[in-house]
Amino acid sequence: MCLGVPGRVLEIDGLTARVEFFGIEREVRLDIVDEPVAEGDYVLNHVGFAIRRIPEEEVAETLALYDQILAELDREDLMAQDVRSEMGLAGQRSEGEASDG
């Protein structure tokens, strides 16, 4: 819940965007993002809401951490788990009804 996840905006429909997170597509709300967002922009997301449009020159640095975390899928990794659950990928360890996006 503390670590947001960056994703690329594919399509915008009003206050809803389709955003791609490392190969996964999700709906994201644009109600509270700090700046106007266009298709192709990267946004930082928390619990299904974009909270910041990531300036273009900062995108590569921002993605690097996540690339590294998600590259290590073979390990039981809490950060990867958090990132996956932010992406709505049933990162939860419970047997709860996983949200399917």
Binding site: M1, I32, H46, I51, E61, T62, D82
Partner: protein, 386 residues
């Protein structure tokens, strides 16, 4: 050494801030600023579960100079949710209302059990990754009451606020246990046992509040605050800046995460946050009653306030629920106040483990006990050099 990240993303150039030489230079700088404090280490507190994850994952404690101690603060949103707040959700679930919440909340023990226990007894409890999904669930089931148990700090509270400002199904309401980080820093800064000399503030939360929110705090307590990111070098840069400020006795706010955080923060999110919520005093589990530390729905949103809509169910359900779980020895509160580490807890490791958690700090992926168990207390050195 092969870099898996680069292998996946060959188009990205090696980044300056991942440079091991720069990492070493930052560690050397920290060593210089703290060289005369080896016997009485400089004490810096972070207030973010993701910071603790990154520190443990990348093994930063094992490369930090002996004159610096990084202690954990109340940065795990699940952990600071108070038992009576869990009890309210458990009582509601027991009364037949459908409860939706974020994943980590399920197994956190209240006074009489967890939401997971309630589900085991037949209650309808579901995990969602976004409050938006909870609203969709309510719309799909107009004939039943759906309550979102809303937990977390400003990063999740803004999402709750945004949802409450839209047209909502009449059968949807929110049980808010949201908490706001800046006020708890005031409490922790004054705890004599903790003796924090500098705070590392959480980068993503600060992207909403802006780093300016810490300026009055710094003036009141004469303690420096630095906003830091989650990369190993972001963290080291934040710690180096703090040790320098502490050594020079310069209590100011620094922003070591400028790619995400500005001084004013996200105004649009702040406007919605404060349109929906007002600060109220509340208990942070194991720590203290924190003036203005909770976020309560404003009167204008009373019709969506599950605490009002289901006052009778919450009151009546509290004592009827399942078996109690004794956690008197749990040191979660002291750990979140920076007074203890998991090692100081008699329960840590046995019987309290991720599979059989006793305290909230072992339940949540952002809890210090869970993080230390997963990554070990002396994580691999080579990770930090990346």
């Amino acid at each position: 050494m092969a870099e898996p990240a680069e292998a996946l993303a060959p188009q990205r150039s090696p980044l300056e801030f991942r440079d091991p030489e720069r990492g070493r230079a930052l560690i050397d700088a920290i060593a210089r600023w703290t060289e005369d404090r080896v016997d009485d280490p400089v004490s810096i507190m972070h207030v973010c579960g993701s910071h603790e994850q990154a520190i443990a994952r990348f093994g930063l404690r094992s490369v930090l100079p002996p004159g610096l101690r990084v202690i954990t603060g109340p940065g795990c949103p699940v952990c600071v949710t108070d038992a009576p707040e869990i009890d309210e959700a458990v009582a509601l679930a027991g009364s037949g209302v459908r409860i939706l919440t974020y994943g980590d909340m399920l197994r956190v023990p209240g006074s009489y059990g967890s939401l997971d226990d309630a589900r085991g007894e037949g209650a309808r409890v579901e995990v969602v990754y976004s409050i938006s999904k909870a609203v969709e669930r309510a719309a799909e089931r107009p004939d039943e009451e759906v309550v979102f148990f809303a937990t977390g700090f400003e990063t999740t509270a803004v999402a709750t606020a945004a949802v409450l400002l839209r047209d909502l199904p009449a059968n949807f309401s929110v049980l808010s246990a949201h908490k706001y980080i800046p006020p708890v820093m005031e409490i922790v800064a004054e705890m004599p046992e903790t003796r924090v000399e500098g705070f590392l503030a959480a980068g993503h939360a600060a992207s909403i509040t802006g780093w300016g929110v810490f300026e009055p705090f710094v003036r009141r307590h004469a303690v420096p605050v630095t906003v830091g990111g989650f990369e190993p070098l972001d963290l080291l840069a934040g710690l180096a800046r703090l040790t320098e400020r502490i050594r020079r006795d310069e209590p100011v706010v620094d922003n070591c995460f400028p790619r995400m955080v500005t001084r004013e923060g996200n105004r649009r999110a702040q406007e919605q946050l404060w349109a929906v919520f007002e600060p109220a005093g509340g208990v942070w589990r194991g720590i203290a009653r924190v003036p203005n530390g909770n976020l309560r729905l404003r009167d204008e949103f009373a019709r969506y306030d599950a605490r009002l809509r289901f006052a009778a169910e919450i009151d009546g359900g509290r004592v009827s629920s399942s078996v109690g779980r004794q956690a008197d020895e749990c040191r979660c509160g002291d750990i979140m106040a920076g007074i203890s580490t998991p090692r100081d807890c008699r329960l840590y490791g046995s019987p309290c483990t991720p599979a059989t958690p006793i305290g909230a700090c072992m339940v949540s992926a952002e809890g210090t006990c869970r993080i230390w168990t997963e990554y070990g207390e002396h994580p691999v050195l080579e990770r930090a050099a990346r």
